[in-house]
């Protein structure tokens, strides 16, 4: 774990400042990384990549980590080992600008700045965006829109919502505490939350990224995950690539992870869990702290051509 942590720090050294910029063009002004891993580091540390449609992501090699905690809320226990396959995760939450590229009606409360994250997005709308982005990039969509839950094909190479385990793996960035950066009093540097948000969302990437170079995991908007929420899931979760419990069929909630502009510091912790109704039966879903980001399966062979300027060795 320590080696992974060191490699991770080295890999993302160049993008550590990427998120910590103000202004709507923060993402475009990012300088190329100067300390990304070399080719043999692909399997060892995170690698910034740029997708065909220009979306910045971070490739995360597979690995094992401790999920959950025995020192938090009941639904975060027990802490348990989970092994994950490699995947890539969006460096930023999906913004208004990106959402519009999928030709989806934007339900967000705040739409003044195209670089702010979408919110009030239903779980299914987030999945629809994933499929659209897959089609735009010529990838195989993960979601079967003809099934009741839009079942996920995890073997497809298209975009999807992260599993809860993937989200926590990315957020903890090789650490085991509630925040990967250490002390809680640093949280304001990493997250828009109730204390500093002025009760609204902010442009993506203005705060410091986490140890894997991913921005706004701790705040701005909370993020939909693929999994059905169950407070007892950790007691029965499989040890490899868990996808959440089966759909109970009634009163289904899906997992949302990460803090938001209205969260307390405790709610922003890497292990904090929440279940939220998906909004499927609500024509005017109004959960204005709920956004998302995408992940996708990336093989080492696919990785090389995606390593753009910021991922250049």
């Amino acid at each position: 774990m320590t080696i992974l942590r060191l490699l991770a720090l080295a890999a993302v050294a160049g993008v550590l400042t990427a998120c910590d910029k103000s202004g709507s063009n923060a993402q475009n002004e990012r300088k190329p990384a100067d300390a990304a891993p070399d080719a043999k580091g692909i399997d060892a540390g995170p690698v910034p990549i740029t997708t065909k449609s220009g979306v910045e992501m971070v490739y995360l090699p597979g690995g094992e980590f401790t999920m959950g905690t025995d020192r938090g809320d009941a639904d975060e226990a027990p802490a348990h080992k989970v092994r994950l396959s490699a995947f890539a995760m969006d460096m930023f939450e999906v913004t208004h600008e990106k959402f519009a590229k999928a030709q989806l009606p934007n339900p967000s409360h705040w739409q003044d700045n195209p670089q702010e994250p979408v919110e009030r997005v239903r779980w299914r709308d987030a999945k629809r965006y994933c499929n659209e982005r897959s089609l735009i990039e010529g990838l195989k969509p993960c979601y079967d829109e003809k099934t009741a839950d839009w079942d996920c094909d995890y073997s497809a190479n298209g975009y999807r919502l992260p599993t809860e385990a993937e989200w926590e793996y990315a957020c903890r960035a090789g650490t085991e505490g509630p925040y990967d950066f250490g002390r809680a009093d640093k949280l304001r540097q990493y997250a828009w939350m109730a204390d500093n948000s002025d009760q609204k969302t902010h442009p993506a990437g203005q705060k410091k990224p986490n140890g894997f170079g991913i921005c706004d995991l701790y705040g701005n908007v909370s993020e939909w995950c693929e999994d059905v929420y169950s407070p007892t899931y950790y007691k029965e979760s499989p040890p490899v690539d868990p996808h959440g419990p089966p759909n109970p069929g009634k009163d289904v909630k899906r997992v949302i992870r990460g803090g938001s502009w209205k969260s307390s510091p405790e709610r922003c912790q890497a292990t904090a869990r929440l279940g939220e109704r998906t909004g499927d039966t609500d024509a005017c879903f109004s959960t204005d702290f709920c956004g998302f980001r995408c992940v996708r399966r990336v093989t080492p062979a696919e990785l090389q051509p995606l390593r753009g300027p910021s991922g250049k060795t």
Partner: protein, 377 residues
């Protein structure tokens, strides 16, 4: 069923059963008293008959009809039935199209509606027009939805889709267009470029205002707005809910105040800043969702859709998954009901009698979006 006073014993019979008073004067007085009682009784019975007569019986002599959408035999179609629920007739006969959201012209001779062709995000939704008997079907615009009529029937308004790619959610609109029935020309509303994410428009009988819902657009979180039909004024009515509809005399507006609540209230459209007054109608249903409220041509009745919460059914061809009240979404168990406005000051549908509520449809086959009209004779 409540017993009406008309069915109670004749007050004269009661009088005749009383002991006969003695003396001529007494006889005269008794006769006068009996006549008075009869008159009072008849008068009382008349008022009470109106208040207690089943809604269905009140509707039958009026001769109104209702257009609506229903999903039967694997597709959505436009139907017309008598306003007492009898004689449903399917008007649309296109096997590859899903037709819904009927809107009848003010003179009752034409129906506008939307038709969906294709699947998923490749669906093309178009606004159509046809005669009231289903003949002379004509496409008005592709990638368009939510048609609505001007009060004189000379203009058919509709809302262009925001994107070419389809999304079933009703607020996926950008702008507003007017189709001229005489010339066939389509022109944007003068403030069209500033109109975004509107849905369910309804044009007032005065002609000046269009009322519609906005969701996440035009700087509004969610609101019911008055939009000046031929101008740029916009007024936030500051009422919670969606899917507003003007009464035929434009003196009231009805709307969905929540998933389980419908409302109506007076509105003064002649004021500089029209505002909604105290609620005159409040209809509740704790069990079912209630949506799509619509006034009868005489303003005396309100029709609406009613059914359980749901998110569509992916096994139903040509439908989409979203909240059941959204048109284009199969709404299992949904039916159309009618109430009388003056009996709905505060009406709980789960406690309603036949004098309060009449369900026009009962088959639960996604019956939604009722649109009243007075058939032309």
């Amino acid at each position: 069923m409540r017993t009406t006073l008309l069915e109670r014993p004749n007050p004269c019979a009661t009088v005749s059963n009383r002991p006969a008073p003695r003396g001529g004067l007494r006889k005269l007085f008794t006769c006068f008293a009996n006549l008075l009682l009869i008159q009072l009784g008849a008068s009382f019975a008349g008022v009470s008959a109106d208040a207690q007569t089943p809604v269905r019986e009140l509707l039958q002599p009026l001769g109104f009809k209702i257009a609506y959408e229903s999903y039967v035999d694997g597709k959505s179609d436009i139907f017309v039935m008598n306003s007492d629920g009898s004689n449903p007739v399917k008007l649309t006969q296109t096997p590859a199209e899903q037709e819904h959201y009927p809107q009848v012209s003010p003179d009752g001779t034409k129906i506008s509606y939307v038709s969906d062709v294709g699947e998923g995000r490749d669906t093309v939704r178009s606004v159509y027009l046809m005669d009231i008997d289903g003949k002379n079907r004509k496409k008005i615009a592709d990638h368009a939805r939510e048609p609505f009529w001007s009060p004189d029937g000379k203009v058919l308004g509709f809302l262009p889709q925001e994107f070419a790619k389809f999304d079933v959610i009703d607020f996926a609109t950008k702008g507003m267009s007017f189709y001229d029935m005489a010339t066939g020309q389509i022109l944007p509303q003068v403030n069209s470029t500033n109109l975004h994410h509107l849905y369910n428009p309804s044009w007032s009988a005065t002609g000046k205002w269009i009322v519609a819902t906005v969701h996440a657009g035009m700087g509004f979180d969610h609101a019911i707005l008055l939009i000046e039909a031929r101008g740029t004024n916009i007024v936030d009515l500051k009422i919670h809910g969606c899917r507003p509809c003007f009464s035929p005399d434009a003196k009231q507006v009805a709307w969905g105040a929540g998933d389980h609540e419908l409302a109506a209230a007076p509105i003064n459209l002649e004021a500089d800043r029209p505002a909604v007054g105290q609620w005159s109608v409040r209809i509740e249903d704790e069990t079912n969702k209630i949506y799509h409220i619509e006034w009868s041509p005489d303003g005396q009745f309100l029709a609406f859709s009613r059914g359980p919460d749901g998110k569509g059914d992916p096994t139903k061809p040509g439908t989409h998954q979203a909240a059941a009240e959204v048109h284009g979404v199969y709404a299992k168990g949904w039916n159309i009901g009618v109430v009388k406005t003056d009996r709905a000051a505060h009406l709980d549908l789960n406690q309603a009698t036949e004098a309060d509520l009449f369900m026009l449809t009962t088959n639960g086959l996604s019956n939604k979006e009722p649109a009243w009209f007075r058939p032309r004779r």
